[in-house]
Symmetry: C2
């Protein structure tokens, strides 16, 4: 990231992202700006749509700029092809301005594949990172944990999992306030001999590192608050993230199809509580850790509330200059 | 399995299995016998403990035999070493009698590793199966599905996943009453290009097979009743199974630690409903598919009710001669 530490960062927001575009993204971003006031907002996308939302929100006096873009990348497009074909898309324009140092962070609730690919192509990796990871905040009974990778790398090496752990460690110290984050490896048993070849080799590397490695965590205990950062390959991490996302719909399905009227009366209110807690995972969005900049990715179905939280996270990452801290740490450990 | 189709099978039960041994296992097995009456029971284990339970249950007149064993394999023992060191353990004795055709099925709620290893060493594989799989019944909003492998093979080939699908297909037809079971591949995307190398190659093999392959299923939709049989490698399957098992404790943890008194009043009754439904997974135990016999494995924490269900499943598998049907199908498809 050019520019180094920022007292007052500019956060670029892809107004065209998510399933609903400006009507959901702009109110969320404006809410973040009104709440924090310690960053500037740069909205990228179709100008009329953005201005209509800003007018409705009475947001003319806020610290924000609008960057009209003639193109938008759809959720269904092939990421690499869309990036080449749409240089004036909100995703490519926002990330290009980030690379040029005109903005200090980027947020999109658009296609994860397109944001990851464009972040890599336009912004680039940190020198010490072979492959960036997508990190996601997951709710636990005690609070939350950072899980990575949740989908950027379906095939990983043990060394890559160690890099993920080091990046997660920096994130948990700087952003979550943990003095000495507990780092765990997601595995199918607690013993170090358990798991596939990757897990066994990664366990050995993590054990030998200077991290506060607390060992393997089984999926059964993942949500019990036994670790602050949990590393795994992107195939397993994506599977786990999506299964957790499926819990609330499963309860809902039980209530609707499998339950008596009496059971339904109990299940539906419980479902609402669960959804509020699982929403937590969405608050911070997913973070692309390991690129030379700040790129935060929201769920396609993000609400304005989720956009608001993710924009605040993006501003916080830029303000604390997390990419530079990741690079310094990885360089020192490397 | 020696002997072929049985009208009145004998089911061997490891009375020493599970966290509690005879006081939980014997009542469960006797309850199954009293309910079904179409099989005989053979109880293996410490004779005094078994007879004490039988006396308390007033079970002297039932169609059962007791096979005293001087040894028992603990949950914590190394499976291979324990099998060698304890020839007179209830697990080795029961499976040896199964191999000799003296009993037609085996059930244990003991160490999964020991039961899998002893089943392989003592009973052996079906000729057409390279590696057996552990299959588990998982609840869905619409009923249940069979997931395999859930832990016997942490590393799999595409061909092995096809074998698992073929075995699951036979099981779903014979035991779950599905005419044309919907077979799916657990993956991180619906498109055939998604996933790691194993998933992409397995998708291609399944697509080309004569199975009713309905494509990839994402973890988010796994519990929505979109497939009857779902195949995956044992690392991913074990992860998914354990995460599902962790769902009720997660809700409980939320209720106890993260919730207001008002929320707790809603969450706890919902938790009880959920636990009843998730218990379903435990009803049938886990099945070791691909050995030349019937081996059913219960959770260490099995209740008498879970033992009862698993013993009924073991009797059903033997009565329908599932191993012979698996071999015939795999031989025909091979």
């Amino acid at each position: 990231m050019p520019g180094g530490s920022q007292k007052h960062p500019i956060v670029a927001v892809d107004a065209m992202g998510g399933d609903f575009g400006p009507p959901v993204v702009v109110p969320g971003a404006v809410a973040a700006l009104r709440e924090a006031k310690d960053f500037s907002l740069a909205l990228y996308g179709e100008a009329d749509g953005i201005h209509a939302e800003l007018a409705a929100l009475d947001a003319a006096d806020l610290d924000l700029t609008v960057h009209p873009c003639q193109q938008a990348i759809d959720m269904a497009e092939s990421p690499a092809a869309a990036i080449r074909a749409k240089p004036d898309s909100s995703i490519v324009r926002g990330l290009t301005d980030h690379k040029a140092g005109k903005v200090d962070a980027f947020f999109s609730a658009g296609s994860t594949g397109a944001v990851v690919a464009a972040s890599l192509i336009v912004v680039g990796r940190l020198p010490s990172v072979d492959r960036p990871a997508i990190a996601s905040v997951i709710p636990t009974t005690a609070g939350s944990l950072l899980l990575l990778d949740v989908g950027a790398n379906v095939q990983c090496t043990p060394q890559l999992l160690l890099t993920f752990a080091q990046m997660g460690d920096v994130y948990a110290r700087e952003m979550l306030g943990h003095d000495r984050p507990r780092i765990a490896l997601l595995n199918i048993g607690e013993e170090e001999s358990k798991g596939n070849e990757l897990a066994i080799a990664a366990h050995r590397l993590l054990r030998a590192s200077r991290l506060n490695f607390v060992g393997n965590v089984e999926a059964r205990r993942l949500l019990q608050g036994v670790a602050d950062v949990v590393v795994t390959d992107g195939f397993t991490g994506n599977m786990v993230l999506k299964l957790i996302e499926g819990f609330a719909p499963f309860l809902q399905g039980l209530a609707e199809r499998g339950a008596s009227a009496e059971e339904r009366a109990v299940l539906l209110p419980a479902l609402r509580i669960l959804q509020r807690r699982l929403d937590y995972a969405e608050y911070g969005g997913a973070l692309l850790l390991g690129i030379d900049g700040v790129s935060v990715i929201g769920h396609g179905a993000s609400s304005s509330r989720a956009v608001r939280s993710a924009v605040l996270v993006a501003a916080g990452l830029a303000r604390r200059d997390i990419p530079a801290k990741l690079q310094a740490r990885l360089h020192a450990d490397g």
